[in-house]
């Protein structure tokens, strides 16, 4: 965008970079906080250091990939159901 100064603060490249930095700092803090707050966990594995972070990230990765793969089988054009509707 040429007049990026005029557009909203939220979409300027400089502020997007700033938001990424803040986001990464917050991410690091939530994991780092485990040095001070003990998550005792209920089933052993969930007491590991950074388990919530890793589990959240990997679960999302898995779901996105499964969705992507299923998409190859399940996705059809938007007119798919309209084609045969008006015959009978």
């Amino acid at each position: 965008m040429t007049d990026s100064q005029k557009d909203s603060w939220l979409v300027r490249p400089s502020s997007i970079r700033l938001m990424w930095i803040i986001f990464i700092v917050i991410l690091a803090l939530t994991v780092g906080a485990q040095f001070f707050v003990k998550i005792k966990g209920y089933f052993g594995i969930d007491a590991w250091f950074g388990f919530g972070a890793a589990y959240g990230f990997l679960a999302c990765l898995a779901m996105v990939i499964v969705a992507k793969l299923l998409g190859f089988v399940l996705k059809r054009s938007e007119q798919y159901y309209d084609a045969g509707d008006d015959d009978v």
Partner: protein
């Protein structure tokens, strides 16, 4: 004097009056009737309030309990908030249908017996179909028909089950049962169809997004959550529900990730959220039932809020596809902020209603040592943030600049969204006052440092995953096949082919019958010719020719002789 009357009847009356009144009076009615209903709901004491003789049965139209009042309360709140959101934009018949629909849901809440439950159940099916049709498009008409077929079918299955239970046990009481025989399975299946359980989950995402921007707000609230209430009342602790619920949770996430239409994303996430509740009912402990009820309450609020913000966008821009939207935050700050609050609440962010209700179900799984259930629910919480928490607001309000600069919400729509946003945050910040409404005493601490930290990690890293994986989630202008393909395409194709073959055979039979009749007729005509001229000229028409009288007399004599001979032989 009103003890025997269900609070639902207030909304029935106001639904009837909505069509008769005009302008300010109608507006006042749409807003006041739900509040009056809310008051009436809290006048219902525990236990069976009234019985009425009907045929040979003792009907119990009103039975109170904390659980029933909780669900009725949220339905009345939704009737009010939905009315506030819709009263200046929606057609009067949509408002009337919405009130009757809410009345059906509230009627189910207080139904003391299976017959009353069934009547209100069908009332919901009827009026929700009308709301789908109020979408007004050809797509809405077709989707409404499919929706009606599905719900009438579900109603019949439920009815078969109820009849079976009544015949075999002689009781029409609503009481906990297990799916152990044909009758109870039928009841369970009938209820699960309304909960959008597999294999028919597709009806929800098929019908709701076809309704009007205001209609989907009402639709999102009632049908699936009355099904959850019915499951709590009839099938608490039914183990099969745990797995049905987990399937719904995952199904909702995957399909929402594939979806391009903003309201369809929200519709899939209803299935996902109801999955949490169904799973909790399956666990069945007091903690789990509290979790299911609390989550239903919180879910209705934030899901309606999300549908409201999507509805404003559609109302202002006429577009609902992620590929057409984006960058709307510039001119729609109220809608954006309310949409984000709804999105955070559905994701179960700390300080929102989702956090204090969803974690109860997880806690119930922990208490029963159901490790697999617990971890799947945790993964699903991450997935909810992915598909509804970020995906919905990101693609609608941010993403790219679509170039559109629509106005923000009209004042009444904005007021409804602000009201629901406030409830989302209030419940999240002061859970104790909300927990008092739950059916069982709550000994649960929602906010412990460790738990907040765990969920912050889980959710924020899901957020990281979303932005890193954005290239994989590029929106495409597609629909996703579902099990309803079996009847919408396969079965319909067979039916059409059968119809074509039958009409072909029918045409063949028709033409061959016609040609043989023709042949018979021309043959007959060769003996009897109708026209008098031919009679004289042509001798071929034997029966129409004039015959000499003597010849006729001779033939009569011969025949009579033959007859006499035959008589004596």
């Amino acid at each position: 004097m009103f003890e025997g009357l269900s609070p639902a009847l207030i909304l029935v009356a106001s639904a009837l009056l909505t069509g008769l009144l005009k302008n300010r009076l109608r507006d006042g009615l749409v807003l006041l009737a739900p509040l009056l209903t809310l008051w009436a709901i809290w006048q219902v004491p525990d236990g069976v309030v009234a019985t009425v003789g009907f045929l040979d049965y003792q009907i119990e139209p009103v039975e109170g309990s904390a659980l029933r009042r909780l669900f009725a309360t949220i339905f009345a709140i939704m009737a009010f908030a939905g009315g506030l959101y819709a009263f200046r934009q929606a057609k009067w018949y949509e408002l009337a249908a919405a009130q009757a629909y809410a009345a059906g849901a509230i009627g189910v809440c207080f139904a003391g017996d299976l017959i009353t439950l069934f009547i209100y159940w069908e009332m919901m099916a009827l009026f929700s179909t009308i709301i789908v049709w109020c979408g007004g498009t050809a797509g809405a008409k077709a989707a409404g028909v499919r929706y009606a077929i599905m719900h009438l079918l579900g109603g019949i299955i439920l009815k078969v089950g109820i009849e079976g239970v009544v015949v075999h046990t002689g009781s029409i009481q609503i009481q906990p049962m297990l799916a152990s025989n044909f009758d109870t399975w039928m009841i369970l299946i009938g209820i699960l169809i309304n909960a959008a359980a597999p294999p028919v989950s597709a009806w929800l995402a098929d019908a709701y997004p076809e309704s009007s921007p205001t209609g989907s707000v009402f639709l999102s609230a009632f049908t699936t959550k009355t099904a959850v209430l019915a499951l709590i009342l009839l099938f608490p602790g039914e183990p099969v529900l745990i797995w049905v619920g987990l399937y719904m949770v995952m199904y909702g996430i995957i399909y929402a990730l594939l979806e391009n239409d903003a309201r369809r994303i929200l519709a899939y996430s209803i299935v996902n959220q109801v999955g949490f509740m169904v799973c909790a009912v399956g666990i069945g402990t007091q903690m789990a039932i509290n979790g299911a009820a609390a989550h239903a309450f919180a879910h209705i609020i934030y899901k309606a809020l999300l549908f409201m913000s999507a509805g404003v966008v559609i109302y202002r821009t006429g577009k609902s596809k992620c590929t057409d939207l984006g960058g709307l935050f510039r001119t729609m700050p109220v809608t954006t902020i309310c949409g984000i609050i709804g999105a955070l609440a559905i994701s179960g962010f700390p300080l929102t209603s989702g956090f204090v209700t969803k974690t109860m179900t997880s806690q119930a799984a922990i208490n029963e040592s159901l490790a697999v259930v617990y971890f799947l629910l945790a993964a699903a919480s991450a997935g909810v943030f992915l598909h509804a928490g970020i995906k919905f607001p990101w693609f609608v309000f941010f993403q790219k600049d679509s170039g559109m600069r629509p106005k923000d919400a009209p004042w009444n729509m904005a007021a409804a969204m602000v009201l629901l946003s406030a409830i989302c945050i209030f419940i999240g910040v002061f859970p104790a006052s909300f927990y008092e409404l739950l059916p069982y005493p709550v000994e649960y601490q929602a906010y412990t440092t460790a738990k907040v930290l765990f969920y912050l990690q889980l959710l924020l890293f899901s957020g990281l995953a979303f932005f890193l994986l954005l290239p994989l989630m590029k929106r495409t202008e597609t629909v996703s096949l579902d099990t309803d393909w079996l009847w919408r395409v396969l079965l319909f194709g067979w039916a059409k082919r059968t119809y074509n073959v039958a009409s072909l055979v029918g045409a063949k039979i028709d033409s061959s019958v016609k040609s043989s009749l023709n042949r018979l007729q021309s043959r007959a005509q060769s003996y009897f010719d109708p026209s008098a001229e031919n009679q004289r000229k042509d001798s071929k028409y034997f029966f129409s020719k004039a015959q000499p009288i003597g010849q006729t007399a001779l033939w009569i004599a011969v025949l009579l002789t033959g007859y006499v001979l035959a008589y004596y032989l």
